[in-house]
Symmetry: C2
Subunit: 213 residues, 2 copies
DNA sequence: GTCTATATTTCGATAGAC
DNA sequence: GTCTATCGAAATATAGAC
């Protein structure tokens, strides 16, 4: 463990972002101090300021550099024309569950809500760069399916909320109950995901009028 | 504005709890200082410590004393046997939307997730006192309807997530976009609620197998 | 029960050696 | 690029007058 290891330094920025994001989503922005972050990363607090000039700029980097891969993967699923429309919706929902339950970016929504009043630009960037694009991709899949005659004439906005809402809330519920011994019994991911996907596909492929107006 | 107004002092505790809850849900636990709270209430910081011996105990009171009314109203809807099963579900969902979008207790979930690691007892109390009871009440309504033959044989756990998920996520999304000029166009509450209720009732009263297994 | 004043700790951020 | 040492501001909490 030398002091100036170049191999460590090269991936340092990515390492900081990864651990900082994990800490921010676990304890909130205000609840995470630079000393906490330095401890989690294993360097001194002053060294953090060599890579990022302030806590806010580090946080902004966590938010704006964390979601690119997630957005691209979902867009790739939409473009995949080797599968049927229902299979595409299933693949998209499995990816949405994966993102929101196993990666930090999926648990960033409460974090953004916390600082939206103080740093509105971050909320804007996260919403237009991640949320809106995720929503638009799924809405597009549904509209594609309707145009091809695979799906009933559902309201895409309503379906969007029915698809994302339970996933984001499940991630929040599991974060909230992380310390409970019976968390997996209270919120069984696999069972909830499969039931959810089944119900969505039933609404999309089912007969009859599906809009609530 | 006298210094020792008894009329003010009598309702002081409730006043503190109300304004503190609003501040906590807006800026998070760590993001809200005792000075912030004192300013919002219009008293001095030291006076807060006359009513609550610490920030943590004030926060615990906000969480544990905030949800009683909400739980009782939803349970009253379940017990109301003057209406049909679908009408009861509709009334319950309208109440769930009202709670989560217009009262602070409905926006407490991210707050609990933030401090769950530091004060696990609060997460336990909130989950068993509010979340679990809200869930159980709705699940009960669905099971009642199935038993009476009003509803199809859906999976109550899956329906529970499909009912609460979109509402809680909508509250979070609107909190996140509170500063956006186009928030009401991005997240139009009335339209989303009506579509949501319509889709849930379609799943509950529709024909065919409804479980995803 | 509310106030002013202050003790004590922790925070974000900087200076300067190596 | 990382470190030790430290600054000034802001945090939680307390002391004691009225």
């Amino acid at each position: 463990m030398t002091k100036n290891d170049p191999a460590q330094a090269s991936g340092r920025r990515a390492d900081i972002l990864e651990r900082a994001t994990e800490a921010f989503v676990s304890h909130g922005y205000a609840g995470t101090s630079m000393a906490d972050l330095a401890r989690a990363i294993g360097i001194q607090k002053a060294s953090l300021y060599h890579h990022f000039r302030s806590k806010e700029s580090l946080f902004v980097a966590c938010v704006t550099e964390g979601y690119d891969g997630a957005v691209r993967r979902l867009e790739a699923i939409r473009s995949d024309d080797a599968i049927s429309d229902p299979a595409r919706i299933r693949a998209a929902m499995e990816e949405i569950y994966r993102i929101n339950l196993t990666t930090p970016v999926g648990r960033m929504a409460p974090l953004i809500a916390e600082i939206a009043a103080t740093i509105p630009e971050v909320a804007q960037a996260f919403h237009s760069g991640f949320i809106a694009r995720h929503y638009a991709t799924v809405t597009g899949m549904i509209e594609d399916g309707i145009a091809r005659g695979s799906f009933a004439h559902v309201d895409p906005l309503g379906m969007q909320h029915l698809i994302f809402g339970p996933v984001i809330t499940l991630a929040l519920s599991r974060e909230m109950t992380a310390s409970f011994p019976d968390r997996d019994a209270l919120y069984p991911v696999d069972r909830i995901r499969e039931t959810h996907i089944g119900l969505i596909l039933r609404l999309l492929t089912g007969k009859g009028s599906a809009d609530g107006s």
